[in-house]
Symmetry: C2
Subunit: 750 residues, 2 copies
């Protein structure tokens, strides 16, 4: 091992790299040489990561400027930018190769993927450019590989994990899907036999259920409920007994099969996620043991890490935590204050560092320090106790309700327009009063979501309103964009009323908790939409055109396509739902996600139906179900899981230490209680009672948990804490089947 | 206690009543006097129960014959039938009062409910009849109480449980719903401000988003995805940035909130179901202990039940099980063959009786017995080995596929019509060959679902085809109904191909398993639909009329309502979606369940919107979510749960005993393996190898499990087997909160 021969400082640096690697569960193997550590830190520096992301999104957004463009740019400009992006990706990849052992680097499919994608993009660009010179129009097919950069750069682990989860779910879902398709085909055959020879007509006057493939498509769409009850009406008009056919179909295929899809996706999602988390947890433990071995010294019968070494290590790994926080961690790791840390406690360090501990300084209000006499005068005290009173919250709830009524009323009357200023003033006064009463740094603490939310909304509204008024009075130009923003901000303000009701606040907090993870699904959706939008643009571009209402272009009413004459599509004024540029395609895909609108397929080419079905399978059956699974899982975790073990250990220690520093135990506990809610006094009784100056720690609220933390919390509780797990090689080769009991597969359940 | 003084025979009878009561988990209290036991048996006799159900459904179906009727009957006839039904219900209730202690009877809300419902129905009938004589038309409001009889008669425990579960879910879902409505109101306010003053128009030419309440309704409907993307198009046509508003709305309200509803419903459903099951399990144990106390005799230091007593008891409780089955149960209960049964084993009797054990006689083929020479001739043996060959199954799979193609082809050609006869003949030959090869009683065993299915389908198809041909040739009349049935049966035949593929068979089995429980949801849905259909008929009857295509009635194109001129509703030919009679209302409600079609509300009265929203909340947000929860739960159970403990005990015993009886152990095990699949030889190696005559037991496949058994299997594993549970009084007063840990409520999770 490379670390054995390194000098003390090098060993420490290496251990620090291992610990910080384990702490964030990055996928870098742990056998790096001390020389590579600095390069590794550089690679993981946030500036480098941000730059990579910037170029990834720049590369993705090129589609907006390339033909067919939303904002056209010359081909030369877009291709130069693309080459620049590819260059950046290559450099980043080479950097990664430097910090990774050669064999690991070349074994990793994601690196190969990125290289292939870069080569493909360059080739395509060259071919397209060359053909362009001779005025031959070819397809920019390489654009669909662009999301590969988003997926495969090391920072996007969440999205990669989601993709892996999808890939793993595939076999099992395929069987259910085949059964489902079999059912659709059977029902279509029945429908053909039952309705095909009745000479029925659809509402558009077309023959009803005469072509087998069209029946299959119509019934598939019925599963998405998009054409219910249209598809049923002709048969139902003929005889209401035929409604039974559609009832049976909907029960079996929409309700039962769609639920089975959810069940299969959910079950697989959990199973594979568990496996991934287990892999990561084992890897973390291995790395921590590795780091321990680098730093260990003999102490009696066992190997330990000395306190000084440990402190240096923590300083290197987490340079931004406070001294007192580090002392707290030391107290937890070295429980009996022996001056050294044993292996078991050391291994827990990565977990401890992952828990956000907020160091709260009990401090007097700055005004109380600067002008104590004024601040503690009777008037000031009365004001502050008034703000602390429940009536204050109620008063502002009533004000918000009145504001809601004013917003709903018409804007025309000048009085209402003045009222808006009054409300803005009232809200600003509220914030000022609160800052006056509570300590400002506590009021704007990291976990005071609603305080931040209020303040931002109010000041944004103030700025926008002032800007709008100025523009209005000086240039006679009433900017619609700014006015829209003002409206939205005005309405958003009303959300505050939710926070006043305890029951709602709890549900809101759970929802806010899962926002970061939902961003993963945003990334996933972006990738799928991107690929489908590019394909859709190449296939359907220009088939449908949108004309403004007063246009007199030929076929303006039929979306520029004579085939659409008298169709429901044109009558429903859906012309803007087209694939003519990336933005439109994106929105069409969104509509397809909500309801698989088939009108479009009917009027373009028959092959379009395959496109629509493929999109439905990928997006609705798989991704939306994973999304729903995640929300279900998150709520179940919230419902059932108690704080994880490590968290509880820290909290206990905080309580113990709090006693040591604070003396006044009851006071302290009350303080910590008070801190849970933003509305309460954070400074004891406002300086009236004697308060010892000191520190108070507090576990950060669950709100700001990272994606990983939430996922780990879901499953880590099930891992025995002593288990160091299998060897590194074994971990990497863990199959999902190993992670679960024998009885969870379908075959065993039968 | 009444039993203490009763003679031995009375005690036995009482114990038997307790055991059979515990076995089926009926809700009858256990302190009945021996005299009441016979009355109690009579009450629970299947003829009595069937009669009650018949009158319940007769009473419910009256709505088809009353004004507005599908099949009109005179008022006198329907009211006489109703009085008859009410009379039957009263008698049934009185019978129940006889077998129940007075204080328990009057404490039970369901009895009070039934009494009030009977009184209300009679009063309403009297008032309506009286007013009718003076030609005053009044509302038959009491019809909405009719489902009460379905819910509250003791046999419908499943539906009652589902209703209780809904009622318990209500408080928690209300908070989420309020938050959801708050979000809808906020978005509506934003929409009003953003789009209200743009003078936009919908596709129908109406002003777009100008009235606040209409926006709220439109956006609520958008949650059901019914009016997507219509509701977005005018704003999207104006500027595509506005699509962002709808995207945000759909993500928050359709995806997130709907998933949260599912999570809350699912979580509560599980929690309350668990509590109910726990209550029932405790009650069962109490009753068994009670029965034990009646029969116990002293034996050494402990009290036991003698083998003779036990056998008499089992004979009384389960008169239809075979002697060998009873011996098996005795072997399990009296493990060491001491001649008596101790308390612990006795208490398990109810569980043992609930497990379906199939007694399989190893018997030779009847043909083998009647004409052994022919049956064991070389030709016969060759035939049988051919049928057993995999190729036989494959051949028939190919035949089915060819059949599918023929079905899809046109019927006109006479050759294809002849081919149908060929296929029918082939299928019949297949069944005959299989019966020839396998033992007929085993082939048509209770758990051979697919064999039954095949045979029924084929013979129904044969009958229908012959009937159709006869009718065609004799009367020149080609009955459409029979032809439709022939078509459906012909297509259903194709399902068999699914059974040939192992993977599909497993999924199908899980689906078939949950069919019985889905019937509960059928009952639940029936009740909700019934109430809403009655209300809808009273409110909206006659607002919309359906005219056949070639009608020349005024406003035939506008569904008889001038207000519908040029509306999407009339253009889409939805006129048959009306509330003019019960059948139509029922189908409209079904359409509303799938997609909340708002076109109807637009054209009738504004208040109709409330009706639609109420239906959506009850049906989609609550009942459909419970349905989805059930399917999810059932699949998770299938995925994860191993056979329950008691089942395993029986199976072990079967193995042990099997050895005792069978001698040839390996042979036996192979036999049991073979029996798992229907296609395999059930008779060893077809009589070629010497086979000892004997019995083989087998746990019935999971397929025919009852609803209760599945639910109990879900949760009973979590109850400690020794725990006798709290006292009877305590059980009845168990609150859901007691059944779960403190940390599952929302407050604690925050």
């Amino acid at each position: 091992m490379a670390g054995e021969a390194a000098p003390a400082q090098g060993r420490l640096l290496l251990a620090a790299a291992l610990v910080s690697d384990a702490q964030y569960n990055r996928n870098i193997p742990f056998e790096t040489s001390p020389g590579a550590v600095r390069l590794y830190y550089l690679y993981n520096h946030w500036v480098m990561q941000a730059t990579t992301y910037f170029f990834i999104f720049l590369n993705l957004s090129l589609v907006l400027f390339e033909e067919p463009a939303v904002y056209p740019l010359p081909f030369l400009a877009t291709s130069l930018i693309e080459v620049l992006c590819l260059l950046v990706f290559s450099v980043r990849l080479m950097h990664f190769a430097k910090v990774t052992p050669r064999n690991v680097f070349w074994k990793d499919t994601k690196n190969i993927c990125v290289m292939v994608a870069i080569l493909m993009s360059l080739t395509d660009l060259a071919i397209f450019g060359a053909l362009r010179i001779y005025n031959v129009r070819s397809v920019r097919w390489s654009r669909i590989v662009r999301p590969i950069f988003l997926i495969n750069f090391a920072e996007s682990r969440q999205i990669r994990r989601a993709f892996r989860s999808i890939r793993n779910t595939f076999p099992e879902i395929t069987y259910v899907f085949l059964l489902f398709m079999f059912s659709v085909l059977m029902f279509s055959l029945m429908a053909l036999k039952l309705f095909g020879e009745r000479n029925l007509q659809t509402a558009e006057g077309l023959p009803y259920f005469t072509n087998y493939l069209e029946i299959v498509f119509d019934l598939y769409v019925l599963v998405t409920t998009a054409n219910s009850p249209d598809v049923m009406m002709p048969a139902f008009d003929f005889s209401w007994w035929y409604a039974l056919f559609f009832i049976t179909y909907v029960i079996i295929n929409t309700y039962i099969f769609m639920s089975v899809f959810l069940a299969v996706v959910y079950n697989n999602y959990r199973k594979h996620l568990k496996n991934e988390i287990r892999k990561l947890a084992y890897m973390k433990r291995r790395k921590m043991v590795e780091a321990f071995n680098l730093l260990k010294e003999e102490e009696g019968a066992e190997f330990v890490v000395r306190e000084a070494q440990w402190k240096q290590l923590v300083k290197l790994v987490a340079p931004d935590i406070s001294n007192s926080h580090r002392e707290l961690l030391l107290h937890i790791s070295d429980d009996e204050q022996k001056g050294f840390i044993d292996k078991k406690s050391f291994v827990r360090l990565a977990d401890l560092l992952n828990i956000q501990v907020i160091t709260l300084k009990i401090r007097r209000h700055p005004l109380g320090r600067w002008m104590p006499r004024v601040y503690s005068s009777a008037a000031s005290q009365f004001l502050r106790s008034m703000v602390r009173h429940r009536g204050f919250v109620w008063t502002y709830d009533v004000i918000i309700l009145i504001n809601a009524i004013f917003i709903a009323l018409d804007e025309e009357s000048p009085y209402i327009s003045y009222a808006e200023w009054v409300f803005l003033a009232l809200y600003i006064i509220e914030i000022l009063l609160k800052v006056y009463t509570y300590e400002p740094r506590t009021f704007f603490g990291k976990n005071q979501f609603w305080n931040w939310f209020d303040t931002l909304i109010i000041f944004a509204a103030l700025t926008a309103t002032i800007l709008n008024t100025t523009l209005k009075s000086t240039t006679e130009y009433n900017s619609q964009q700014i006015l829209d923003i003002v409206f939205i901000l005005r309405v958003l303000r009303l959300i505050r009323i939710v926070d006043s009701i305890q029951r709602f606040r709890v549900i809101m907090n759970t929802l806010i908790n899962i926002v970061p993870t939902m961003l993963t699904f945003g990334g996933l959706t972006l990738v799928v939409y991107y690929v489908f939008a590019i394909i859709g643009m190449e296939l359907f571009q220009g088939k449908i055109q949108f004309f403004p209402a007063n246009s007199n272009a030929p076929h303006a009413l039929e979306c520029g396509n004579p085939a659409l004459k008298d169709s429901m599509f044109a009558r429903g004024k859906y012309c803007k739902n087209n694939f003519n540029n990336f933005a439109s395609s994106f929105i069409v895909l969104l509509e397809l996600t909500v309801v698989n609108q088939c009108g479009f397929a009917k009027v373009t080419v028959q092959a379009a139906k395959l496109y629509f079905i493929a999109f439905h399978i990928v997006m609705v059956i798989i991704i939306v179900n994973i999304f729903v699974s995640f929300i279900l899982e998150a709520f179940f975790v919230e419902y059932s899981l108690e704080k994880s073990e490590v968290e509880t250990a820290i909290e206990q220690k905080i309580q113990e230490l709090g006693m040591g520093i604070q003396e006044d135990e009851l006071q302290d506990e009350k303080l910590i209680d008070n801190m849970e809610s933003a509305e309460h006094d954070l400074e004891g009784e406002g300086g009236t009672k004697p308060q010892p100056k000191g520190l108070v720690f507090k576990i950060a609220s669950k709100r700001y948990r990272t994606v990983d933390a939430l996922l780990q919390r879901m499953f880590e509780a099930e891992l025995p804490p002593e288990d160091e797990g299998p060897s590194f090689e074994e971990i990497l080769n863990l199959s999902p089947a190993d992670a679960v009991q024998r009885n969870v597969t379908f075959e065993a359940a039968a």
